[in-house]
């Protein structure tokens, strides 16, 4: 922010022009607003569970109930195997990761429509909002992750061998991957929803379908070869499968799937940023 812009020999601090370049991500400006990111995260955390009965316990109750439900429907009734991983761990970890990914997409999608009042009154880099959501959604993820470790420890105590591998140390990167891809995808939707509101409805429906195209309630190893392309087209599959493999020492995921999914995710994030940046300067005129 402190650097000046030279126009015809005159120095200015800020030049406002009609159109920006196709891609002009101002990371320094976002860094300048880092305190706002922090305060937004704090706001989310303190406000979500005010005047609730169970408070942050909801973070654990929800995935636990889902796990029991999945265990009954997909485990006991449909008898889908879980790669030798105890069902509780398998479904809990899947629900936890999918829940985080889903939260990142949904909150990025609501950036413009949910903050129209704020964005119409004051300027700050709009990316502050999806970035802070990545972290405020992480709060529930951390609590759920600790719960998962407790469950896993309990299995180990009872002699059931679900040992993590060294790859589990990559977990923060895997989470970052999910966050970046989810936010990037959500930014694409958010840029479109400022004009087409019905896309928001399509999204909630689409997310529930998308979950079934991702190895959440079944392991990747059970998928017939002719459908494997689905997981190449769906870059959430690789991080979730990798996470499970590394923590529970099961299955194996091909490096080609990981690499192609990273490339595809990076592309989506780039498109998301371009669309978001283009939209942020004029969206208020159509909102």
């Amino acid at each position: 922010m402190s650097d000046t812009i030279d126009v015809n020999g005159e120095k200015w601090d800020l030049v406002i022009k009609p159109k920006k370049k196709l891609f002009s991500l101002n990371l320094r400006e976002i860094y300048h607003y880092r305190d706002l990111v922090y305060l937004m995260i704090k706001r989310d955390f303190t406000t979500v569970y005010k005047q609730t009965i169970l408070g942050p316990l909801w973070f654990i109750v929800q995935p636990l109930i889902t796990t029991v439900m999945y265990g009954f429907v997909f485990g006991s009734l449909a008898k889908i195997p879980t790669d030798g991983i105890p069902q509780t761990l398998f479904y809990f970890s899947g629900t936890m990761l999918w829940g985080y990914f889903n939260a990142c997409i949904t909150s990025a999608t609501d950036t413009f429509s949910g903050n129209a009042g704020l964005f119409g009154k004051i300027y700050f880099p709009r990316l502050v909002m999806p970035i802070s959501k990545v972290f405020s959604n992480m709060i529930s993820l951390v609590i759920q992750f600790a719960t998962m470790l407790v469950i896993q420890g309990n299995f180990l105590l009872h002699g059931i061998k679900v040992y993590p591998t060294w790859w589990a140390l990559m977990a923060p990167l895997v989470i970052l991957w999910l966050a970046a891809f989810g936010t990037g995808f959500g930014m694409i939707i958010s840029s479109l929803t400022t004009k087409y509101r019905d896309l928001r409805q399509v999204l909630s429906f689409g997310m529930s379908l998308w979950m079934y195209a991702t190895p959440i309630v079944y392991p990747l190893s059970r998928v017939p070869e002719k459908y494997k392309w689905v997981f190449y087209a769906n870059p959430v599959s690789a991080p979730i499968e990798f996470f499970r493999n590394s923590f529970f020492g099961s299955g194996n995921i091909s490096p080609s799937l990981i690499l192609s999914s990273i490339a595809l995710s990076a592309f989506v994030v780039f498109v998301g940023l371009v669309m978001f940046e283009r939209n942020e300067r004029t969206f208020i005129d159509v909102a």
């Binding site: 922010m1 126009v7 005159e10 120095k11 200015w12 601090d13 800020l14 030049v15 406002i16 022009k17 009609p18 159109k19 920006k20 300048h32 607003y33 305190d35 706002l36 922090y38 305060l39 937004m40 704090k42 706001r43 303190t46 406000t47 005010k50 704020l118 964005f119 119409g120 009154k121 004051i122 300027y123 700050f124 004009k195 087409y196 509101r197 019905d198 300067r281 004029t282 208020i284 005129d285 159509v286």
Partner: protein, 264 residues
């Protein structure tokens, strides 16, 4: 004196009526039609004619002016003259359609007091949040906290959620945060019209003090000519998106009064 703000051929165009179809396929049809030079099947019919070019509405047209450092400029005009649009462009809420705005120094804008206040958070938490939205650092806010609380006159309620505040307390706290900003340029949209008469006078005095003592540049939009007269040294008169007159605030206010009297 150096120039703090320069507006050079600034225009803002809005598209009337048809910009939001809500249906993707209709947008595609319109786009294809325009692409191949045919008339838009979804163009709104304005005054019995399909108006392909007339849908455009210039909220501002070719605005040029320089604001010197330390100037206090009032922007006046009737409703719909483009005052608020002008502020939105300077505040970077929306981009201009044409032209360029040059700014020298740190700028902050107040189109509303208490932007981003959350009802569940306490007064103190909201001061931090609102301050950060206005571009302040946490350290800076901590340093100014006492000053903010004192100005707002609500010391005993500062750790109470703002949803329990009266509307007067709410705006006083919000204005106190805004008043603590120390940017070089301040853009404000009738924010002085908050609180009771006593508090309004206090706000006005504060604005006066900061601009005179610290040489701050102020751009102020208002319908209240008396406020413009006391606060501003110069004024700009807008009419239908164009600059009608610029000069000392007395002259411009006289012209504006004459103009509104004529139209009645």
């Amino acid at each position: 004196m150096s120039i703090a703000i320069r507006a050079s051929h600034v225009s803002k165009q809005y598209i009337l009526g048809v910009f939001n179809y809500d249906m993707f396929y209709k947008d595609m049809q319109s786009w294809i039609a325009r692409r191949f030079g045919r008339s838009d099947p979804h163009g709104k019919i304005i005054e019995n004619q399909v108006a392909p070019g007339d849908r455009h509405f210039w909220a501002l047209r070719d605005i040029n002016f320089d604001v010197e450092q330390g100037d206090r400029i009032g922007i006046i005009g009737v409703n719909g003259s483009g005052k608020s649009t002008l502020l939105k462009l300077f505040s970077r809420i929306t981009a201009p359609t044409e032209g360029t705005i040059y700014i020298r120094g740190k700028i902050s804008s107040l189109l509303e007091v208490g932007t981003g206040f959350h009802p569940e958070l306490t007064g103190r938490e909201n001061v931090y949040l609102n301050g950060a939205i206005l571009g302040m650092k946490r350290r800076e806010i901590t340093r100014k906290m006492d000053e903010i609380i004192e100005f707002s006159e609500i010391e005993q309620f500062i750790d109470t959620p703002v949803k329990r505040y009266s509307s007067g307390m709410y705006v006083r706290l919000a204005f106190a945060v805004a008043a603590s900003l120390d940017s070089d340029i301040l853009i404000a949209d009738e924010v002085l019209a908050v609180g009771d008469t006593g508090f309004q006078a206090k706000c006005l005095k504060k604005m006066n003090d900061v601009s005179k003592e610290q040489g701050r540049t102020i751009l102020y939009v208002s319908h209240m000519l008396a406020t413009v007269q006391t606060l501003c040294t110069k004024a700009i008169l807008l009419k239908k998106g164009q600059m009608l007159m610029t000069g000392s605030s007395e002259d411009v206010i006289a012209k504006y009064t004459e103009m509104t009297n004529q139209s009645q």
